[in-house]
């Protein structure tokens, strides 16, 4: 990689320069497309943000009714309406992503430690390909399982008629819920995190672990204190991947989350977990038919801009955290 090509033959160097220029131009083209995406998305989003200011992120009124008003005002004869308070959608996204990532992180860490260090060989030989397969199962399949298995189970067995009746005048509890979304999302992102964690834990220098074992410290403590601690950057990188996947998940969450612009209220007690909601990405998907109405388009692009900004911040975090890991020659 570091070798320099012969530079005496100028005729040959010409072809190299051409190749370098062509490839470089392609790379530059892709960069330009991504830059254009950032510019266009934020430009299209601007009217929605500028009309609402910081209230865009606040709460107030029914978000579904606001969306309807925005859409119908797209008619040329009317003044466009932009009032939009996205808090229920944001809250739903934060809740679903946060809970799912939290559960997935803890269990993925234990499963990864198990796979790398403690599982019998035959089990490891089975588990590793399975993890990779699960990580690449399309989200719509998870969504289908959620709708046909998890949601009816929650609706029929976990919600009593009494609790359904107690909130019937605000929101209907049918099984499409925070709980279903979190469960399915956890199952969906855990394999992604496990795959990254396993790679990172395996790259921990063997001699470090053996040094600790030689001091008489047992395997569990050795692996926990040295292996996991060394692999911390990889843990963050894997978590970032999981969060990115969870934030952008539209299809599966549109199917199981209930698709109501409702902010689940932790004050409701246990009912909180079975209340429906709708995260940001699913909102874009469900209103994508209405892009032709200009105020609606600006509003949807504003949601997309929020997602894009979070994704950019996440990948920046991942990049920063990954730097120390390069020392060990690990790329996660």
């Amino acid at each position: 990689m570091d070798a320099t090509p012969p530079s005496r033959l100028f005729a040959l160097r010409g072809s190299d320069q051409r190749a370098e220029l062509m490839l470089g131009a392609l790379v530059f083209g892709v960069l330009a497309v991504v830059a254009a995406m950032l510019v266009f998305v934020f430009q299209e989003a601007w009217p929605s943000f500028s009309h609402n200011g910081l209230h865009w992120f606040g709460s107030g009124g029914s978000v579904d009714r606001q969306i309807e008003a925005i859409f119908t005002s797209g008619d040329l004869k009317r003044r466009p309406v932009y009032t939009f308070h996205a808090w229920p959608l944001l809250w739903s996204t934060l809740l679903i992503t946060g809970l799912a990532v939290l559960i997935a992180f803890v269990s993925s860490l234990f499963v990864a430690v198990f796979i790398v260090e403690f599982a019998p060989d035959w089990m490891r030989a089975v588990l590793e390909p399975v993890v990779r397969l699960l990580a690449s199962v399309p989200s719509v399949i998870y969504g289908l399982l959620g709708v046909l298995v998890v949601v009816p189970f929650i609706g029929n067995h976990l919600i009593s008629e009494h609790s359904k009746a107690s909130v019937a005048y605000i929101v209907s509890l049918s099984g499409y819920s925070l709980l279903a979304a979190v469960v399915i999302l956890t199952v969906m992102i855990a394999p992604i995190m496990i795959a990254v964690f396993v790679n990172g834990l395996r790259a921990v220098p063997r001699s470090w672990l053996e040094g600790s074992l030689a001091l008489g410290i047992n395997e569990w403590r050795t692996f926990w204190k040295i292996g996991v601690r060394t692999a911390r950057p990889v843990l963050v990188a894997g978590t970032v991947l999981g969060v990115a996947r969870a934030l952008g998940e539209a299809i599966m969450l549109a199917m199981v989350s209930g698709s109501v612009g409702f902010a689940p209220n932790p004050g409701d007690g246990l009912i909180f977990f079975v209340e429906p909601s709708r995260p940001l990405a699913a909102t874009i998907l469900q209103n994508a038919e209405e892009l032709a109405s200009p105020p609606m388009r600006h509003t949807l692009f504003a949601i997309a801009a929020v997602l894009l900004f979070s994704a950019a911040m996440l990948s920046f975090t991942g990049w920063v955290v990954k730097q120390p890991m390069k020392r060990y020659g690990v790329r996660a």
Binding site: M1, A3, P5, L12, S15, D16, A19, E20, L23, G24, L26, V27, F28, V30, L31, M37, V41, S107, F110, V111, V113, F114, I115, F118, M123, L127, P129, V130, R132, L133, S136, V137, P138, V140, I141, L144, L145, V147, L148, I194, G216, N218, W220, A244, L247, G248, A250, I251, A281, L285, A288, L291, L300, F301, A304, L307, A311, S315, G318, W319
Partner: protein, 324 residues
């Protein structure tokens, strides 16, 4: 170490073989931790096998050979709604088109990043940009795609009525989907190229080959398994995407061509893939034919499984190649 709660296991004088954990001698906390790891590991196995077995059972129950050759139709019962020929063809069509863009582009970027990478800031930026694309939600990419393909200049790629461009076609969907596959392809290509030691390049330069020739004749053939792995994984990612298909392909049941040229009309028109077919036939969708959805999900899962196994086999072959 403090005395364990239970009777300490006798320590053998020889160094024990690894994985032969004498965990009875550990502290309680460590044993609980180990037990928890076992529990979660087994739970993971249980959930995984439950998902796979459930889908297998449902798939075998509902998959019929005629589903693969019948066009889908709108209807209210299992009898009326036909099969999923169009979505199946659409899946391959959109996947191949997207990879047709993503593979050359990914190869070029991977080669440039690994072999040239100058000026340095541009390489850094390219790296982070590719990672950002990988983290960008596909629904955001889809919205960006509507901006591009609804512009009048690109009206010839989709249906347009009186100057209003719909921006929904196989061209639009495949172009945007290629961005979904791009990070995977680039990562595999780079990994393959970086696994080739420097002396191989030096040997090629020493016999007077240029960098371009070396790359084309020596490095890329040697990295072929990684390239194929990346292509397969990218293909799997593309056919698993739903949001972009819904927004940029229209997610119609049948192909709805534009114009009269046989192939081009389909590519300019709307259509659907297996993912959107499942989405629409789930109880939350417009079709609501769960049996059909299960059958399609089974087929899609098998496709992804085949792609994964293929990538594994090719990848293992690549690792067998050793440079001494």
């Amino acid at each position: 170490m403090s005395a364990p709660a239970t009777a300490p296991a006798p320590r053998s004088p020889e160094p024990t073989v690894r994985r032969d954990h004498a965990s009875a001698a550990w502290r309680l906390r460590d044993r609980i931790g180990l037990g928890f790891a076992w529990l979660l590991g087994l739970l993971f196995c249980a959930i995984t096998s439950a998902i796979v077995i459930y889908l297998l059972v449902q798939g075998i129950k509902y998959v019929r050979p005629e589903l693969f050759v019948t066009h889908p139709a709108a209807g209210f019962s299992e009898r009326e709604t036909g099969g999923f020929l169009d979505p199946l063809v659409g899946t391959f069509l959109v996947g191949l088109m997207a990879m047709g863009i993503a593979l050359p582009l990914g190869l070029a970027i991977g080669v440039w990043l690994s072999e040239f990478g100058r000026p340095f800031p541009l390489a850094r930026m390219a790296e982070s940009t590719i990672e950002m694309i990988a983290g960008t939600p596909s629904i955001v990419l889809a919205l960006f795609g509507t901006l591009i393909f609804q512009s009048p200049a690109l009206g010839f790629l989709s249906r347009s009525v009186g100057g209003l461009v719909f921006g929904r076609s196989f061209f639009a969907a495949a172009t945007v989907l290629s961005f979904v596959a791009l990070p995977l392809v680039v990562a595999s290509v780079r990994e393959g190229l970086q696994a080739i030691p420097g002396h191989v390049r030096e040997a090629s330069y020493a016999v007077g080959k240029t960098k371009a020739t070396t790359t084309r004749r020596i490095l890329l053939p040697a990295a072929r398994p990684s390239v194929i792995t990346g292509a397969l994984l990218g293909f799997g990612r593309v056919i698993g995407d739903t949001a972009i298909i819904v927004i940029l392909l229209g997610a119609t049941l049948r192909f709805d061509g534009v114009g009269s040229t046989p192939v081009l009309s389909t590519l300019r028109g709307t259509g659907g893939t297996l993912t959107t077919y499942i989405f629409q036939n789930a109880p939350t969708g417009e079709g609501n034919q769960p049996a059909k959805a299960y059958a399609a999900a089974f087929v899609l899962l098998m496709l992804v499984l085949v792609l994964n196994v293929g990538a594994d086999v090719v990848g293992r072959k690549g690792k067998a190649l050793r440079w001494s």
